[in-house]
Each structure stands twice: as structure tokens, then as C-alpha cells.
Symmetry: C2
Subunit: 139 residues, 2 copies
């Protein structure tokens, strides 16, 4: 049972505990960013896991390139499964729904920006905010 996930963790030199497998499953299922609190609430009924354990597991998953931080909003960290391809977030300011954006115009802009500034640009972080179609209707 869950042999695949167990092997995945072991390949990363992580002990395959019940909690880690539960959290890993959760991460794999969710397409949008989530917080530690989200995990805690969503697993409460089936597999309650202590908040400290969730935080510790998230940090271990970050270190092992399973997860990535995608935002920090009002003092809350949001995570997402590490994406192979570069992507950004479009967040609804009302309901907090998130749309991942795949194509990004920054790449093409990078060269000219490096020439202008002399900087050697290594990475960037882009967050867009607005109203989702649903919340527009409610206004």
C-alpha cells in the first residue's frame, strides 16, 4: 500500500512514516497553494496530524525539493508542489482562489534588463491580484 510514495521518500533518504505519506498525498492532490493550517484542517477528520509535525514536514519537503514556497500573505506562508516549469500565481483578492499562470513575459525581458543594470539576474517572483469571475458577479 502506497508503495510508490514510500519509494519516492526513500529515494530522497527520508523515512517513510505514516504522517509523511499522508501529507505527501495531500500535496500531490492539491493544484493550488496551501498553508500549514489548510493541511491541518483538511486532514483533521481522517488523519489528524499535529501542527508542529506539519510544519516540520513542510520544511523537510522544502529542503528536499518536494515543495516550494509560493507566497507569504498576511504573515502566512503558502506552499505548492515543486513545479518543473516556471510559473506564477494570479490570486483573487476576495475569495483567495488561485490560478497558476504558465507563460511569463519576464524571460524575454531579462536580457535587456541585465544590459541596462549590469545585474546578473538569477530569479524573479511575480504575483498578480484581482477579482475572479465569480467575485466580479457578486459586486
Amino acid at each position: 500500500m502506497n508503495t510508490e510514495l514510500k519509494d519516492y521518500l526513500k529515494k530522497k533518504n527520508l523515512k517513510a512514516t505514516k504522517n509523511r505519506i499522508t501529507i505527501l498525498k495531500y500535496i500531490n492532490k492539491r493544484r493550488d497553494p496551501f498553508s500549514a493550517e489548510d493541511i491541518n484542517k483538511d486532514l483533521m477528520d481522517q488523519n489528524p496530524i499535529n501542527l508542529s509535525t506539519i510544519y516540520r514536514t513542510l520544511n523537510i519537503f522544502l529542503d528536499n525539493d518536494i515543495l516550494q514556497k509560493v507566497a507569504e500573505i498576511d504573515g502566512v506562508l503558502y506552499y505548492q508542489k515543486l513545479q518543473e516549469n516556471h510559473q506564477h500565481q494570479l490570486i483573487c483578492t476576495e475569495c483567495k482562489a488561485v490560478v497558476p499562470i504558465e507563460n511569463c513575459p519576464i524571460a524575454e525581458w531579462k536580457d535587456s534588463l541585465e544590459k541596462m543594470t549590469g545585474y546578473q539576474i538569477a530569479s524573479h517572483h511575480l504575483e498578480l491580484r484581482g477579482l475572479c469571475p465569480n467575485c466580479q458577479r457578486k459586486k
Copy 2:
């Protein structure tokens, strides 16, 4: 003394207190993003101001379009004087030097993104990171 700053605050319907003028001066001088703690440390010698007061003042300045939040890093909020024209930050990962970037490719991209997603995009936040010319030489 400081008549200009006093009038500026009064025009915004804010009482022109000593603390507010001191903080306003600080904000006007600084070109790069700063935290509440930065203000506290930098004013410690000349004009010590209580941290609560600094936080309260920053929030009032945010509400009155004097300030803007520019980042939230490791649980710390960073602010900057509200810029008339839209701008972003290019931050050196070594020495933390900041170059403000005036032109931004997102504006042109906005329309097509709104069509694609149905979102009504209100704002965006872009942060670029890399090595400044100085720190490149040192490597």
C-alpha cells in the same frame, strides 16, 4: 520648522505630531525598502520612537496613500514611499542593494491574461533577484 511636512499631513487630515513628522522625514529620505524595525533602530539615537507607535503610524500612512507595502520576507513587512509611477525592485542577493525598475512588461501582458483567465487584474507585484556588478567581481 518642517512647515512643508506639517502642511502635507494636515492636507491628509492627519494631526502633525512630532513622531509623524520624524517618520515622514525618514520615509522621504530612504529610497530602498525598510521595515518597522529599521525605523526603530535608525531613529534610536536622535528621536527614539516606540515600536507600537511606528507600527501604528505605518498603518495610518498606508491608509492615506503615503506608503506602500513592497514585500513580506521571513515574516517581516517592508515598506516604501508610495511611488507615483509604477515600479519594481531588482535586489542583489549578496549585498541587498536595490535598483528600482521603471518600465515593466506586465502592463502589455495584462489584457491577454484577463481574457484567458476571466480575472479582472487589479495589481501585481514583481521582485527580481540577482548579483549586482560589484558582487559579481568579488566572486
